[in-house]
Amino acid sequence: MTIRSATNAHQEMNSDLLMTSMSFECSADLAAPVAVDQARSVRNSTRRLMVPVLVGLGLALSACEKDPQSTINVEGPQARSINSLAMPVLLIAGAIGVLVYGLIFFCIVRYRRKGVDHIPKQVHGNTKGEIAWTAAPAVLLAVVGVLSVGKIFEIAEAPKDALDITVVGHQWWWEYQYPQPGQTKMNPQLTTGDDPLDVDAAKEEGREPRQIGNLIKQDGPVVSTAGVLHIPAGKKVVLHITSKDVMHNYWVPKLAGKIYSIPGRINKLTLDSDADDAGKTIYGQCAEFCGVSHANMRFKVKIDSPEDFAKWHASIAAPAMKPTSELAIEGEKLFNGGAGCNACHYAEPDKVNEGAKIGPNLTHFAIRETFAGAIAKNDTRNLTAWLRNPQAFKPGSRMVIRKLTDEEIEKLVAYLQSLKA
């Protein structure tokens, strides 16, 4: 049966996964991998359900006070602005809840039946009372409604003098296109053109490639990266968000509300941070179910000081160096030949201005802190596991790669790690 085989497949996969470090520790430090604990089997997990509640309570209180995706304990001005309305509403709702509970409990304690023949006075209604408890909530809600509408328009207001960044959702990773260093404006448009997925097939069959209508057209050259969004502290950033495939949802809980990434549409989201947030790493997650590895479509937002941001921006825009070590040079040959990576990835130094081909643009891969939907730290061990079996690493991953030998993997990893300015 299907469930069974899927479970088996997953277990198999997981044994691979466990050799990689998949999670980041609670601290905001990206570079702190945590080894995933020992393998779990179905039996095992069931047994562990019985872990005593008290132990859990103790752990919960001590384990992580930071709640890296909290919508209550937030960092950015916009998230705070949302909470300035959301929290009072939550409290009012709670107060009304307590009031209603009080009434109900009063009734069920006070008006228990006393004896079989106890028949109360037959009250059919009370017009004044009913008008009152219709009108009172309506008035209260009207007040909340006015405040809510005000907040909607406040947040929707387009900021002046912001840095534009284009965000493209892919199954299951985020691509970021920045303007050239020194520039701040972008105006991405959707346009009709050759379907990149059909170009090769069309060439083989000697026909025109299929035309599609959701290609992203930029005004000028861009700088493409993936996984971690860098933003300058204290400066407003406008994200122009779209999707290459299915619907995703871009969400950085500590900075702003979420917005869908929709193929064929471009949504805008303003992110901002405080000047003293520099150095913080904020967690993000795709929030709309987008297929098998939806849970693995994560990202990080790195808030840099303006100087650090400028430095980073320049480094990803500069042409990458050619590999120097022998191993890496071998890897480059494999990348562009035997392993066929270049069918989907750009990595050549001169491709720094291209968006994603099909997979992420890898020109400055070694600069990135994470890869594979930001679920893994970018290190040798994880890369090796990834190249051995991407689908085991990230279920359903679109990456197609033939079975590689350990030697080949070593070469490719060396090449990938050489990719920086």
Binding site: A6, M22, P68, S70, H124, G125, A138, Q285, H294
Partner: protein
């Protein structure tokens, strides 16, 4: 505004009635002959058109689906019990949450409500059956086959895995190339036909078949909520039908309705889905609200406080429910004007909902409350529904919702509304009406154990979801990392879910014990108030020997008690005295004969669906021909079994069971 029927319409026909003499039907070909009415044997269940038997079957099968949907929920909770859990894996997890949602909505809460509609709607309005008994049987069989079809996907390549909301383009052929989504599309289409047909049937029944004197504003509130929910169904199901057809064409015939690459728009799917999906929420909750509105007055020994207000607030919810769908889409980027409008409309739907809560509480106020299990569940309904309602108001603040949507905060909200709300209300109905349906009392002590376990499990499972939701745990993720602050509460949720499962075991044990027990329930175990209790338990196939003439909402109560002008009360008759009447010859009451055709017609729907799904066109054509043949047989079938003595006694016109529909279609039985 009330539609008062002529009293003669539903009064029992006298033997040898007066109607116009009709020619005796010539002997029909055997294949079209109707089976003779019988109450024993498998054939009697397969061919029944009796609303009580159909109601019982609806209830029983819904409980089976409830167990299956519950097992799916437990698998989800096992997978999420710990960070980076690995109990079922990514793809199976996606199938589980898709099927859990789809099952609980379409195969559990809707048909459970339908079970109560079927059984109690005719009884509450003093009718002998529904307006279209054979259509009723068709709804039932489509529900059976639709559910089986949907679940056959598990054995044919994998269950649907695109979520119960099926957002395009993830559900397109490009991104979901297997047949998983096709099973979902066709399964919902079949179940949708069942629901639409039921809705027509219940509306026609309520409009046309009320007992003499029962004006619309003398109908019990459960009947009223059935009425409103049926209208919502009637208008909501066509929308999802259209959406599913478009998706079917995208997937199977190369259309591009939702394909942005070719100029389609996936946001269109969301509008269509939620334009159905939000009224659907009220379809799920209104019947439970109706049940609670019956139970609270009975056990408080007071009339429902502000009956007209409760009814009108139900109607208001029914109307306003059509103007709030985009609150499921606040993060889609509809722009500030649209989100502001839908945010405000969503806030104001809280007003009629709040009115109901206050009126229920006022019903308790000053009452003489008897705490039976049914009452426990109804009070449990109010207390959990209040939490779900209030968290709903917090979503209506659009900017806050952009943080909350697609997180566990939402999962908490709608489980408080649909589990703590709808299902608790339905369980209240089980305990309240069990003696009516089976003539035996469910064990009250076990019932209370069931209640407390379920309430505890419910709060443990769904309460912490508010917290992890606000801590930023998104929905529909098969795993989460350590160190996110989710671990502890997820474990608590899993423990809670197993407590809920235990409570259901208690419920099923209770059913088992009750079914073995010989003790017979009293005629009026709860000192009830409404018309459905003015007959035997279980009722005879014709429901009432003498159809009562109704003077007030709480007709039964007012026959037992006299109310003075100052609201004081004295007993004037026992329930037994009220139920006693002059003997009536059962042969004078003509009930519709059983029929094979609903079963036959319904059988071909999944066949057609398999044909289209696998592009096996001969099979699809065969199925289509089968459906047509089924309905032809249905239309040509005589209106009664061959040995039915009363067949030629009455013309259709004054047949006690004749209905509006029959007058129109001529084939109602």
């Amino acid at each position: 505004m009330a539609i008062v029927l002529e009293p003669s319409r539903n009064s029992p026909a006298l033997p040898g009635g007066s109607g116009a003499v009709r020619p005796k039907p010539v002997s029909d070909p055997g294949v079209l002959r109707r089976p003779v009415e019988s109450t024993k044997g498998i054939v009697s269940w397969l061919t029944t058109v009796d609303h009580t038997r159909i109601g019982v079957m609806y209830g029983a099968l819904s409980l089976v689906w409830f167990v299956i949907g519950g097992i799916e929920a437990l698998l989800i909770r096992l997978q999420l019990a710990q960070p980076n859990g690995d109990v079922i894996g990514a793809d199976t997890y996606n199938q589980m949450f898709t099927m859990h949602g789809t099952t609980m909505v379409f195969l559990v809460v809707m048909p459970l409500s339908s079970a109560f509609f079927n059984y109690f709607l005719p009884l509450q309005i003093g009718a002998r059956d529904v307006a279209f008994p054979r259509l009723n049987a068709l709804s039932w069989w489509l529900f059976v086959f639709g559910g089986l079809f949907l679940y056959s996907s598990f054995f044919l390549g994998g269950a649907p895995n695109g979520g119960w909301f099926g957002y395009a383009p993830n559900t397109s052929i490009t991104f979901s190339p297997g047949h998983n989504i096709d099973f979902w599309i066709f399964g919902l289409q079949i179940l949708g036909i069942a629901s639409t047909v039921s809705a027509v049937n219940f509306i026609a029944t309520i409009i046309n078949m009320r007992a003499p004197g029962m004006t619309l504003f003398r109908m019990p509130v459960f009947t009223w909520m059935t009425f409103v929910a049926s209208f919502l169904l009637l208008f909501a199901m066509p929308i999802i039908t259209v959406a599913l057809f478009l998706l079917m064409f995208d997937r199977n015939f190369g259309a591009n309705f939702f394909n942005p690459a070719q100029g389609g728009d996936p946001v269109l799917w969301q509008h269509l889905f939620w334009l159905f999906g939000h009224p659907e929420v009220y379809i799920l909750i209104l019947p439970a609200m109706g049940i609670v509105s019956e139970v609270l007055p009975t056990f408080s020994r007071k009339p429902l406080f502000g009956y007209p207000v409760v009814v009108f607030s139900g109607i208001a919810i029914g109307f306003m429910g059509w103007g709030v769908w985009a609150h499921h889409m606040f993060a889609v980027g509809l722009g500030p004007v649209a989100t502001a409008a839908f945010g405000v409309s969503t806030m104001f739907i809280a007003v009629p909902t709040g009115v109901k809560i206050f009126n229920w509480t006022a019903t308790l106020w000053g009452g003489a409350i008897r705490f039976t299990t049914a009452m426990y569940f109804s009070v449990g309904f109010i207390t959990t529904f209040v939490i779900g309602g209030l968290s709903g108001v917090t979503h209506s603040v659009v900017s806050a919702d952009t943080q909350q949507t697609d997180t566990y905060y939402i999962v908490a909200h709608f489980h408080y509304v649909l589990f703590g709300g709808a299902l608790m209300g339905l369980f209240s109905g089980f305990y309240y009406w069990w003696p009516k349906i089976f003539g035996k009392m469910l064990n009250e002590r076990l019932g209370k154990v069931h209640f407390w376990l379920m309430l505890l499990g419910m709060h443990l499972t769904f309460g912490p979801m508010h917290i992890v939701g606000l801590q930023g745990q998104p929905r529909r993720m098969y795993r989460y990392d350590k160190g996110m602050g989710f671990d502890f509460w997820n474990m608590i949720e899993t423990v809670g879910s197993f407590i809920i499962a235990t409570s259901l075991v208690v419920f099923f044990v209770n059913i088992l014990i009750t079914s073995r027990s010989k003790a017979v329930a009293p005629a009026d175990p709860w000192d009830a108030r409404t018309v459905e209790w003015m007959t035997d338990s279980p009722p005879k196939p014709w429901n009432f020997d003498v159809v009562p003439t109704v003077h007030t909402v709480d007709e039964f109560w007012h026959r037992k008690y006299a109310e003075d002008d100052d609201g004081s009360i004295r007993r004037v008759a026992t329930a037994e005295q009220v139920l006693t009447h002059d003997p009536v010859d059962p042969a004078s009451i003509h009930m519709p004969s059983p029929s094979w055709w609903p079963l036959i017609a319904a059988f071909w729907f999944p066949v057609t669906a398999y044909g289209v799904l696998y592009h096996a066109w001969p099979v699809a054509v065969l199925g289509g021909v089968g459906i047509l043949a089924g309905f032809f047989g249905w239309s040509l079938e005589p209106s009664a079994a061959p040995h039915d003595d009363h067949h030629d006694d009455h013309g259709h016109g004054d047949d006690p069971n004749s209905s509006f529909g029959e007058l129109v279609a001529g084939t109602a039985h």
